[in-house]
């Protein structure tokens, strides 16, 4: 599967053969600047992304802990997600996200 990521500076990066288990690990393994401080336990919000509108409804809904955590993320929006909580599944081929401010810090 393939995903498209816009980094904090707006550059478009296509990840062609996503191997990781989650969106966070795919972004990290591509070498993009994502801190993902807690390693994927939904405890830090440094893996915060904005999901392109056409994809938001295709993702599993935001979980309770994820929702609380997003509340402390910088600049939360309607389409905010923690990328460590988005599992890689085949139906997400083409998923497009933007790294939020704070994800690299």
């Amino acid at each position: 599967m393939r995903i498209v990521v816009y980094d904090q500076g707006g550059a478009r990066v296509e990840i062609g053969d996503v191997a990781g288990q989650t969106l966070m690990s795919a972004i990290r393994d591509k070498g993009l600047n994502i801190t993902a401080q807690c390693g994927g336990c939904a405890a830090c919000a440094t893996c915060h992304v904005y999901v392109d509108d056409e994809w938001t409804s295709k993702l599993k809904p935001v979980g309770d802990v994820e929702d609380a955590m997003l509340d402390i993320a910088e600049e939360r929006q309607e389409n905010s997600r923690l990328s460590c909580q988005v599992k890689r599944t085949e139906d997400l081929d083409g998923l497009t996200v933007r790294l939020a401010p704070g994800s690299g810090f």
């Binding site: 990290r28 600047n33 801190t35």
Partner: protein, 405 residues
């Protein structure tokens, strides 16, 4: 000639410091020297998921491509053995000499060993690096009886991972309660009960003496009340010791760690330090306890990297920490040391939050399986308004409600 930032260490603080210096515009050479063989990786899983599942892989903090893209050079498998502070040169274990302009010490800490043991018997383990965790993981299947010395986070996490693999696990602790240095008595009691329910044999207030057999292995542990524990493997988790040798060579101001200010500057103008090797006292840590957490390593490294690039960010972060034991997610916001009053709230399941106050002001919240309380506490503690006992009583300790107020 180009200038160079030399970073000694290969974990959270080293990686984050390099990255922040670059992101904030530092344009000179950056070199990380780490004695470990792997790129900086997530350490917490080593005593948790890594021991439970033999197929679990090491999780890097950042990919190799990241360091390459940011022109951050990483030299692995090399130890910095000496630093000449007058000539600004570092000598590596492979003999190479590296000049630098700015130096960052991110040397972390190493596991303490048992006093009185001058050899390291083959069946004695600690868990600090992935090399340690690999060695322990490969010894698990052949062992039946496990003795863990020290009921700190590491010891208790290892206990919970191994007892679930049907090992006979005993934890021996010298203090009169588990996690005595890290958490409140309330939380200690709660966690002891959880371990007992899970069939871990927990012994407190006892000192140990390992007995080494003819094979050169520890085959039993004698306690100071005369009782004997049989052991196939022994895991030692009696705390850590900051790696201060290089700081001492440089004659930096050192206490229980390298003393740094709120920009992670040491007592020498071109030397910074961050993470487990450093100590800082500030609003959230008046006593200047050396914190050993991912949060602290990353946040200190951020201000150091920023300062090296000429920025003026200061360290002002609420300490937070987590641990996973069985189905319990333990999360701690703030430090409870020095608290004068505590109050707990239990939920319907085995969830609980313990609120700690110093002179009526909330300074820390410890929670088990209550992530919302933890997150709310972090936000509120970071804010400019104090949270008083009365504030919490008014919302019946539903701390999230205070966020809306």
């Amino acid at each position: 000639m180009r200038k160079r930032l030399l970073i000694v260490g290969g974990s959270y603080a080293a990686s984050e410091l390099a990255c922040q210096a670059r992101e904030n515009g530092y344009a000179e050479d950056i070199l990380i020297v780490s004695e470990e063989g792997d790129l900086p990786y997530h350490r917490p899983p080593l005593s948790k998921s890594y021991l439970k599942d033999a197929s679990e892989e090491l999780m890097p903090l950042r990919a190799e491509a990241f360091y390459r893209d940011k022109a951050i050079e990483v030299e692995l498998g090399a130890r910095v053995v000496a630093i000449d502070g007058r000539g600004n040169r570092a000598t590596l274990s492979n003999g190479v000499v590296i000049p630098f302009d700015t130096l960052a010490l991110a040397t972390g800490a190493r596991a303490r060993t048992l006093p009185g043991l001058d050899t390291c018997p083959g069946n004695m383990h600690c868990v600090r690096s992935v090399a340690d965790a690999r060695k322990l993981r490969s010894a698990i299947s052949g062992a039946e009886k496990v003795v863990i010395i020290g009921a700190g986070f590491m010891g208790l996490e290892v206990a919970s991972a191994l007892v679930r693999q049907n090992k006979h696990v005993t934890v021996v602790e010298a203090a009169d309660r588990v996690l005595a240095r890290a958490v409140s008595p309330e939380l200690s009691r709660l966690l002891s009960a959880i371990h007992a329910q899970n069939s871990v044999n927990l012994i407190t207030s006892r000192k140990v003496r390992p007995i080494i057999g003819h094979s050169g292995l520890i085959n039993r542990i004698e306690l100071d009340d005369g009782s004997i524990l049989q052991a196939d493997i022994v895991v030692v988790g009696v705390g850590s010791h900051p790696n201060l040798e290089l700081a001492q060579q440089l004659e930096l101001k050192v206490g229980n760690g390298i003393v740094v200010d709120d920009k992670s500057r040491t007592s020498r103008s071109n030397v910074f330090a961050a993470g487990d090797c450093a100590t800082f006292s500030g609003q959230f840590n008046l006593a200047g306890i050396r914190l050993e957490s991912v949060q602290n390593a990353i946040d200190q490294a951020r201000v150091a990297g920023n300062a090296i690039a000429g920025g003026d960010k200061v360290y002002h972060a609420v300490p937070w920490f987590w641990s996973d034991q069985y189905e319990s997610k333990i999360q701690i916001a703030g430090l409870s040391g020095g608290a004068t009053y505590s109050e707990s709230r239990h939920g319907e399941k085995s969830d609980v939050s313990v609120f700690h106050f110093r002179d009526d002001v909330c300074v820390s919240v410890e929670s088990v399986n209550r992530p919302r309380d933890h997150i709310a506490a972090r936000r509120l503690l970071a804010g400019s308004k104090e949270i008083t006992r009365r504030n919490l009583q008014e919302v019946d300790f539903n701390i999230s409600a205070l966020l809306k107020a």
